[in-house]
């Protein structure tokens, strides 16, 4: 493992704890299922690149997700449901790049936009949640907590998925890009061709430690996919991490204790 001396720190820190982390997550989800503190919600088809990072392995109907300042991540979240035939509604984002969305897998035939809901943001978002499966929005200014709770309840009742660009108090998970590197562009030459981003997902439930993954967001072919590890390390798929390492056991004890 250590003959790849030239590899970057980032690659190391994803690859080596990954099997252990996967195992912990699997065990944690079993624990949480057994404890059954809440009703299970329906899974929504999710883009395969982003699914492993989300709590439960996919988007959930009736849940809210918040994304920090990356429209590309929002589009990555929308792509899965949209490909599955679900309508998406975008409320209050006048700068939403429609063409990029269509290239990233959001079907424009099933996309409705309300760029300027104005003072009626809450009403419009709630009305949207009644009919479309995925509502993307940004909270305008200050909205009372009670109103947000009402909207959250409506989302849950209608089994829609809410994706908020910015903060959302009851979000299932918060997604953010912690670092991003563009390829194809230098100082004065080339052009933007692709981006590698470290996506970090903090789940509401769980131990508070974010899940992280390095994604092409997007790659040169306008696809979202995980960054391939260096040869040798890539051979360890995350789900296969059933080996018991001391580290994972120790962590498991922490979780149980």
């Amino acid at each position: 493992m250590f003959e790849y001396g030239a590899m970057t720190d980032a690659a190391l820190d994803v690859s080596s704890p990954a099997p252990a982390g996967e195992e912990i997550r699997a065990l944690q989800s079993r624990i949480s299922q057994m404890q059954a503190t809440k009703l299970d919600t329906r899974a929504v088809r999710t883009h395969p690149a982003i699914a492993p990072l989300l709590p439960g392995g996919s988007l959930r109907a009736g849940a809210a997700y918040s994304v920090e300042s990356s429209t590309a991540l929002v589009m990555a979240l929308m792509a899965g449901p949209s490909a599955d035939g679900i309508w998406c509604g975008v409320v209050g984002l006048p700068d939403f790049g429609v063409e990029a969305a269509s290239r990233f897998g959001v079907d424009l035939e099933r996309l409705a936009l309300v760029p300027h809901p104005g003072d009626e943001w809450l009403t419009v978002t709630a009305a949207m949640a009644d009919v479309v499966g995925v509502v993307v929005t940004r909270v305008p200014g200050r909205v009372p907590d009670a109103a947000m709770a009402r909207l959250q309840a409506r989302i849950r009742q209608r089994e829609a998925t809410l994706i908020v660009l910015g903060d959302w108090p009851q979000s299932e998970a918060t997604l953010r890009i912690t670092e991003s590197t563009w390829t194809g562009i230098g100082s004065g030459h080339g052009y933007l061709a692709g981006r590698q981003a470290m996506v970090s997902v903090t789940a509401r439930t769980g131990n508070g430690r974010p899940r992280r993954g390095r994604l092409w967001l997007p790659d040169g072919d306008e696809l979202f996919r995980p960054v391939m590890e260096l040869p040798g390390l890539a051979a360890v798929p995350p789900v296969d991490g059933r080996r018991e390492t001391p580290a994972s056991l120790r962590l498991l004890h922490e979780v149980n204790g």
Partner: protein
């Protein structure tokens, strides 16, 4: 009927209004026919006014050529809906005087001469009566031709000269036609061939034996031969006057508040929809005309993704009264009349709700209509991808339920209520229909590593993205616009290469781009960058300046240089800031603007 013409030709009268598309455009735009006006189709002059003709503008000329000959030329795109609608009152008036009118095209119609001749005493008297009626309606230029057969009558009407009425005596049509040039047959291929065979007039062609023409030129040739020899077998096929489905609500005294008006028309809307339903029809396109006390008439056509129910009709009237604004209940002038016309009706059987399978679509439609009732008709949009070079230009946003706009319409359709209603999008001058749209040159970057941003000296954009204009099937279900195939069909040299920016600013933002020595980065006349970008600020304050990680460019984009109002010349630059966010910048008149962001 004379023996000569008995073979086929029927005595026919043709009424022709010269330059009708121009007349319709002039009327709609409030111009006179003496102004130089041209109606443009596919970048070519389709029709022009007398004023334009005196400047040397001719049909079939390219728009730019026409503009060069007549600098004051006003050009309008050919709008068949407007042209036909303008002709409709004339047909209506004619039908009151004599039934069985055939509309050949907008601006010209035919009828059998026998009936009017008997009624008015002579063909001349009948023609005079018709012309007088047209003149009453404001059309003084009309001409009448009477001859045996449709073709001969049309040629008689169109013959150059000052006579308004031309009557070819019965049986004299072959002699009349014989002197006319061959090109009037409007069969380009045939005419070209005959011309090379030395045949110059219709008479020359008519003298060829009919059997030989048929065996050599087939059925189309035989038909052309019949026309040329004055034995046009085509008969006048009268149109069935359309049954007008409308409802007029007059208010006495005039109403001033929107809620009063909507309340008053509710019952009428119920009756309007009910009557259609009783005839097993549904209305898919509705025209609402609102007349105010000041005498202004505001009309607009509304489309419906499915069909109009009574509450939808009331909604449309309310939206139209509100204009683009939100709920406010005073109007500029009291309303005296609201008129609802069913523009397009369809068999209701085709719109029945299915037992299975249509549920979710309908739910979507109801939900989005509800949102529309909150934020207004233009508030809920569907998107498709059109042509253009800037990312904003490429996204076509159309209100839910409307037809997709032409790719020329930049961005959204007009948020205010268009006065010339139905195809408001069509009436905006369509830039991509012009030949030659842009010069998008891109050069190798300073280090010469890659050629970026699409293409080499891509001079003229040839393929008009007409593919994006998709007529929806008449009466069929209209939903949101289909995702445009046009963008793929027609490449736009100079548009952005993928990946595309995820945030496209509705209003571009001014930014700062500085060199390491705190000077503004600029582009010189030869398109080279002056100074190396080192620091960037996403707004205009110098406090938020941060280092630039990477950059590339500049790539010049020069669009519509022939049109001073719409010309655009910018230099684009891609840039990655210290946070790893990439920007698409454009230098416009020495100021840097952020057009889009890759976030």
């Amino acid at each position: 009927m004379s023996a000569g013409a008995a073979a086929g030709a029927v005595r026919t009268m043709v009424l022709w209004c010269p330059d009708w598309p121009v007349a319709a455009a002039a009327e709609a735009e409030g111009l006179t026919l003496d102004d130089p006006i041209a109606v443009i189709e596919n970048g070519l002059v389709y029709a022009c006014s007398e004023g334009a003709r005196s400047d040397g503008v001719r049909r079939g000329l390219r728009l730019r050529e026409a503009q060069a000959r007549s600098p004051r030329l006003r050009d309008f795109p050919y709008d068949p809906v407007r042209v036909n609608r303008a002709f409709e009152p004339l047909i209506g008036a004619l039908e009151e005087m004599s039934p069985n009118v055939q509309v050949m095209r907008a601006g010209s119609c035919a009828l059998r001469a026998r009936g009017p001749k008997r009624f008015y005493g002579s063909e001349h008297a009948a023609a005079l009566a018709f012309l007088e009626r047209f003149a009453e309606l404001g059309v003084t230029e009309a001409r009448v031709g009477v001859a045996d057969g449709l073709f001969a009558a049309e040629q008689a009407a169109r013959l150059p000269g000052v006579d308004l009425i031309r009557i070819v005596p019965e049986g004299a049509s072959p002699e009349f036609l014989a002197r006319l040039p061959l090109q009037l047959l409007a069969e380009d291929e045939l005419c070209a061939l005959l011309w090379r065979l030395g045949i110059r007039t219709l008479g020359d062609f008519a003298r060829l034996p009919a059997e030989d023409v048929r065996s050599r030129f087939g059925e189309p040739g035989a038909r052309a031969h019949e026309r040329a020899s004055g034995t046009d077998p085509r008969r006048v096929i009268p149109r069935v006057p359309p049954e007008v489905r409308e409802s007029v609500n007059a208010f006495e005294p005039p109403l001033e508040r929107i809620d009063q008006i909507t309340f008053s028309i509710r019952a009428e809307a119920d009756r309007f929809v009910g009557e259609l339903a009783a005839a097993r029809l549904v209305c898919t396109e509705l025209r609402v005309e609102i007349a105010t006390e000041r005498g202004e008439v505001r009309e607009r056509t509304w489309l419906h993704p499915r069909w109009f129910g009574a509450s939808d009709v009331v909604d449309r009237v309310r939206w139209q009264l509100q204009g683009g604004s939100t709920i406010e209940s005073t109007l500029s002038a009291p309303v005296v009349r609201v008129r609802l016309t069913a523009e397009t009706v369809d068999d209701s059987a085709r719109h029945e709700t299915g037992l299975w399978g249509t549920g979710s679509e309908e739910r979507i439609h109801h939900g989005l209509s509800r949102v529309q009732s909150i934020v207004g008709h233009e508030g809920v949009l569907t998107a498709s991808i059109g042509g253009g070079r800037s990312p904003r230009e490429r996204q076509l946003l159309v209100p839910w339920g409307d037809r997709p706009a032409t790719p020329a319409a930049p961005g959204r359709t007009a948020p205010t209520m268009p006065r010339t209603a139905p195809a408001a999008a069509l009436s905006t001058p369509a830039a991509p229909t012009l030949p030659g749209t842009a010069t998008a040159a891109s050069r190798t970057a300073p280090s010469g590593s890659r050629i970026a941003l699409a293409g080499t000296e891509a001079m003229i954009e040839p393929a008009v993205t007409r593919a994006a204009v998709r007529p929806t099937s008449a009466g069929g279900r209209r939903r949101g616009p289909k995702s445009s195939a046009g963008a793929e069909v027609a490449p736009w040299p100079g548009s952005l290469p993928p990946p595309l920016p995820t945030t496209v600013f509705e209003q571009r933002r001014q930014v700062l781009l500085m060199t390491g020595r705190n000077e503004l980065v600029d582009v010189d006349e030869s398109g080279e960058l002056v100074g190396v970008p080192a620091r960037f600020s996403p707004d205009v304050s110098s406090r938020s300046l941060r280092p630039v990680q990477a950059w590339a460019g500049p790539w010049p984009v020069s669009e519509r240089w022939w049109d001073s109002r719409k010309a655009r010349r910018v230099d684009r630059l891609q840039l990655v800031d210290a946070d790893g966010v990439a920007w698409l910048l454009a230098l416009d008149r020495h100021l840097w603007w952020a057009e889009a962001r890759y976030d």
